[in-house]
Assembly symmetry: C2
Homo-oligomer: 333 residues x 2
């Protein structure tokens, strides 16, 4: 007799629910989770990682996939400047997923939710032809006016653009894994791909400091910035030589490829913030750099332009990731 759906749910909840916060009114296991938000606004986001599309057995372990599905969801709450609080976890169990691999997923989720300081309040398990992990993350935020949130439509012309950490490190790591290369110096890149950490503290600090626009680097820096440019009706200009490239990405792949991955590789889950240069620079900490990489302009509203060190327009070979088009192009399993 295989494990039952309900046994598996219980097992997942035992591993994940090491404490119950006083704000949880009805804990996991009822028809729905119920909690009392600490702040007047509630924030929600959902994202699904599908084996074969978002990861493969070659690129990472199931524990890494469990880690990532929490991190990539929390990252979107961080990108609002809000505080992540709870997650609902859905495990779609493919026919070839073993119980041990389910345990590895749970182990990765457990480690990630601790680091990201969120609790699992619900979810479920389904049999599926494809293994996939889905999370809904819920958080809260203070009220305004204006609400201290990082919105895609909150940028104005004449502001600076900054990014946290390194950009392109995750996709450089993915490229090294796929090519079977890698060396001691590339460990940090592999880790950036497999174990990203959402920038929750930075997002909340930015919102509290008056920054009003931001996004996380998920599909690709240029494409993600394009959402801000379009929704805020501003132009965006990026200085190619200002991008904070990881030294290992440059040494392993060369400056050109490392730059292109920074512009279009995605999956860094760093935050891009738009605000006054002095405010943005003050957000840097000893642990996390914040680098100014460009500015917003009144010209070319809705468009992101990249300039090289000579001030010439640079056209990156790819600007980001689109799941449906990637499949059509044969890039998705």
């Amino acid at each position: 007799v295989p494990i039952s759906q309900f046994e598996l749910i219980d097992r997942i909840l035992v591993h994940l629910g090491d404490r119950v916060a006083s704000s949880i009114v009805v804990p996991p296991g009822d028809d729905a989770a119920v909690w009392r938000p600490d702040q007047p606004l509630v924030v929600a986001h959902t994202d699904t990682l599908i084996e074969g599309a978002h990861w493969t057995r070659q690129t990472m372990s199931f524990a890494d996939a469990g880690w990532r599905v929490v991190a990539v969801n929390v990252s979107d709450i961080a990108a609002m400047g809000a505080r992540p609080r709870y997650i609902l976890l859905t495990v779609m169990v493919g026919p070839d997923l073993t119980e041990q691999e389910v345990d590895q997923v749970v182990e990765g989720v457990a480690a990630s939710r601790r680091v990201h300081d969120v609790q699992v309040i619900g979810g479920g398990v389904n049999a599926s032809a494809t293994t996939a992990l889905s999370v809904t993350v819920l958080g809260d935020a203070a009220e305004g006016p204006p609400p201290p949130l990082l919105r895609r439509d909150g940028a104005r012309a004449g502001e600076a653009i900054a990014v946290s950490g390194w950009v392109g490190a995750s996709s450089a790591g993915r490229e090294l894994i796929r090519s079977g290369r890698g060396s001691p110096t590339s460990d940090a890149l592999l880790r950036a791909h497999r174990r990203p950490v959402a920038r929750t503290q930075l997002g909340m600090a930015a919102a509290a400091a008056g920054v009003r626009s931001g996004i996380d680097v998920s599909d690709g820096l240029v494409q993600d910035l394009g959402h801000i440019a379009q929704r805020s009706r501003v132009g965006i200009e990026i200085a190619l030589d200002a991008l904070p490239l990881h030294p290992a990405a440059v040494s392993e792949l060369g400056l050109q490829r490392a730059s292109d991955l920074a512009l279009g590789g995605g999956e860094d889950y760093e935050l891009v913030l738009v605000g006054s240069a002095s405010t943005l620079e003050a957000l840097a900490t000893p642990e996390l750099a914040v680098t100014i990489i460009g500015w917003t302009v009144e010209a070319h509203p809705g468009e992101v332009h990249v300039f090289d060190v000579d001030g010439m327009r640079y056209f990156p070979p790819f600007v980001g990731w689109d799941h449906l088009q990637a499949r059509a192009a044969g890039e998705v399993v």
Copy 2:
């Protein structure tokens, strides 16, 4: 060039967002949705419907599947006695899903969200090897003490058990579809399977009337009642001849099969409520029957016993649905 992920998301949101409530602070299209709850407690549930496991092209249309993924999620909020407000919708696009079929899904979601009075505030689109629809539903509820919620652990011995509408109608409809049978009298059964309506008003009315325990009939009546028996540490006794069987189910499949489907078929999305008989009976309306089918007892805590008209214990051939075990048994594609 195939449709892009972002075009598809925009198209979905245009179809679904016919108005923006004043409580929505940040509408769909940002990193996360933000809203201001009307009540102090927030309620959340997520459920995924997977083609081949939860439905097939034979059993229903893509519009039906879109309708159902909203209904089955809202049903869990109804089963808490809370008010559903918002949904996040994730469409996992399988390789054989056409744009027209995606439009049918959206059409079904749109019709269902109107009937269920919820708004789409976010979500996304992914390429996947399997078509699946995932919804997270968010609602709110008043505070207590005690909070007016229908909890699985809220039943006490000596209470009556009631169910809304018909039980077994949905699985009778599924059985008729699969066997290729069906007649004019079976239309109501097919509709019960393809277009269930969550009992939101009943759930809220029950909670407001002081009912403290309930669940929706999703996996199977006996199995679902088992969750209440186990979490409330009460015994549950059900009178077989009290079950509200749909007349068409009895005429199409016979009394025995209709009864067994009522006990174990699931997917009715009716509400089971536990409370005083007079309170439960007062919840019936001209549109929706509420039938007392049993009672809670101190004996056999955690167990659900079914008795026939002669007072003899009846052992149903199946008590409910377990996705992982169903696949192991070859019942899931």
